[in-house]
């Protein structure tokens, strides 16, 4: 079964993926800061049993799924799940019993005992927030049929942190903004969108200087707006950002085509023939090659899925591909070899 990130979407020159996350807690258990070890175990067991009892019904909504007892998984296994955004670092590092339910295509995951008792997450490639919300809502309703949520008439869904209160909804769109990044426009953009209750942060790397120009745009406000309005607001802003990015790309190529053409070919050359390479370097070069494909500077019979390649070359996932633990040097050689083989032959335009 293809993973969600292997599917191509219409706006794939800018939009990588969409994600919906609902934070929920159950009325009868204390929240994360006060949850004891025994209660954490009971909580995971109760949710797991409830889902197992009605497995067929849940599989009608999400498809085939698996349950992972995260605390029993190996460090590499956990790290690989974090790199593929199935679980968060927080869940992987937790010392209490935790669990994750994930579907075969990795598009739906339910984290148990993270910051909230349950976090329902649905991801897909492209701009797909509304269908994802529908799916997350269906899972949400399924769970609330037999387990009572902590809900307040005025405040809505009660969450561990007041930053998620109300709808418990975090809608995010992962975007690729090389032109705005190269032109130093990101700081201004981050400032502008923050006034509209939306945040932008780099997915890889630290601070505003994001590695590979990949950013996550999400809603900040979770209460006082309906779920659909929150999503609509986010989509409107992302649409504007897409326009800005496309205009900027056009401008960059018009004003300095030779420079960018050279950069794209050099990056392709390095990744095709390098013998060893670090994650950060590989990410930057992959981002430049993607820019080359999107701007039609280069082409191949089949366009590779860059996001899939980016996830595959992260340390833990690379070791999973290798099937063994490997040190930094060995990983760098394996990463280079993997990329040499993954990049397709170019065709002349």
């Amino acid at each position: 079964m293809p993973k969600w990130y292997e599917e191509q979407s219409k706006q794939s020159d800018v939009v990588i993926s969409s994600r919906i996350r609902l934070a929920r807690n159950f009325a009868k258990y204390p929240f994360s800061p006060k949850l004891t070890l025994e209660q954490a175990e009971l909580l995971c067991e109760e949710i797991h049993n409830h889902l197992e009892e009605k497995k067929t019904k849940l599989e009608e909504i999400v498809g085939k799924y698996y349950y992972y007892n995260v605390i029993k998984a190996s460090e590499i296994e956990k790290e690989a799940l974090v790199e593929r955004h199935i679980i968060t670092k927080k869940l992987a590092q937790k010392k209490q019993p935790t669990g994750v339910i994930m579907t075969e295509d990795e598009s739906v995951s339910l984290m148990l005992n993270e910051e909230d008792h349950i976090r329902i997450q649905a991801i897909s490639s492209g701009m797909n927030l509304l269908p994802l919300l529908e799916k997350a809502n269906a899972i949400d309703d399924f769970i609330s049929e037999s387990l009572q949520y902590a809900f307040d008439d005025k405040l809505g869904y009660l969450t561990s942190s007041p930053t998620n209160i109300g709808t418990g909804l975090r809608a995010s769109i992962m975007v690729y903004l090389p032109a705005l990044g190269i032109s130093g426009k990101m700081d201004k953009l981050i400032d502008e969108v923050s006034q509209q209750d939306v945040s932008i942060r780099g997915v890889y790397g630290e601070g505003n200087k994001s590695l590979a120009y990949i950013y996550q745009i999400s809603n900040c406000k979770t209460i006082g707006m309906s779920e659909c309005d929150i999503i609509q607001n986010l989509i409107t802003i992302v649409d504007q950002i897409i326009k800005q990015e496309r205009n900027r790309r056009e401008y960059l190529l018009d004003s300095n085509f030779d420079k960018y053409e050279d950069q794209v070919y050099r990056s392709y050359g390095v990744l095709r023939y390098a013998k060893q390479i670090s994650t950060a370097d590989a990410m930057t070069l992959l981002a430049q090659i993607k820019f080359g494909y999107d701007s039609k500077i280069i082409a191949s019979e089949e366009t590779p899925s860059f996001y899939k390649l980016m996830m595959a070359i992260q340390p833990a996932n690379l070791q999973k591909i290798l099937g063994k633990n490997a040190g930094v040097k060995e990983r760098e050689r394996a990463r280079a070899k993997f990329l040499n083989e993954s990049l397709p032959e170019l065709i002349h335009l």
Binding site: N137, T163, C220, I223, M225, E227
Partner: protein, 213 residues
């Protein structure tokens, strides 16, 4: 960008302050921001693994810090009252899970659903400052019956219609009001007949008749 003040270190904080209606914008480094503004970089910010909870705790801390320094500028007496109020806030404790408000400020997370009731006053203020409102308008759990609906459900048919009648009169929708009045009359009539037949609540119906008279 370099810090506007020391012009040596990288500016990491974009600081806007409104004093007497005048807006002042500055790009500052962490050190200068801590020195010359009300913004204090807590150690959590310097730490690379900053969680949303840490940021929230810091914002709330700064929020209180700011109100505290404002209070200092005013008369001593007023500052004392403010200080006392804050002490009172810190002493707040959730009877259900034992979480104190001070612990909440440190972690940025509550201990249980009841914390929102016990810390209602202070939390509602911080939720408003974070989100602009503290009233949920979105989804409800499937089959959830709100407090208001519970009360409405417990009302008798006559009571429900009486409320609607009152509303119609207030809106000056007299045609609707007349309709409702007749319906209420009919319902009362029917009720009276059943009580007469069964003989139960004779006293009550007598009282009602006297009232009607």
């Amino acid at each position: 960008m370099l810090c506007n003040r020391c012009k040596k270190r990288d500016a990491k904080i974009y600081y806007t302050e409104v004093v007497n209606g005048e807006m002042k914008e500055q790009h500052l480094c962490e050190e200068c921001a801590a020195e010359c503004t009300r913004f204090h970089m807590s150690s959590t910010f310097v730490n690379k693994n900053v969680s949303v909870g840490d940021i929230l705790a810091s914002i709330l801390g700064n929020y209180r810090g700011a109100s505290n320094s404002k209070a200092n500028e005013k008369a001593d007496k007023k500052a004392d009252t403010q200080g006392e109020e804050e002490k009172k806030d810190d002493a707040l404790r959730c009877e259900h899970c034992g979480m104190t408000y001070e612990q909440f400020l440190q972690q940025g997370m509550v201990g249980c659903a009841k914390c929102y009731e016990y810390f209602n006053k202070v939390l509602s203020r911080s939720i408003k400052s974070l989100h602009g409102t503290d009233v949920h308008v979105g989804k409800q759990p499937k089959g959830y019956v709100s407090w208001m609906s519970k009360i409405v459900n417990e009302l008798s048919e006559i009571e429900k219609k009486s409320i609607l009648l009152q509303e119609a009169i207030e809106k000056e929708e007299f045609e609707e009001a007349a309709k409702l009045r007749d319906e209420i009359r009919r319902l009362k009539e029917r009720e009276r007949n059943t009580t007469k037949k069964t003989g139960i609540g004779k006293e009550e119906s007598n009282r009602e008749e006297i009232n009607n008279a």
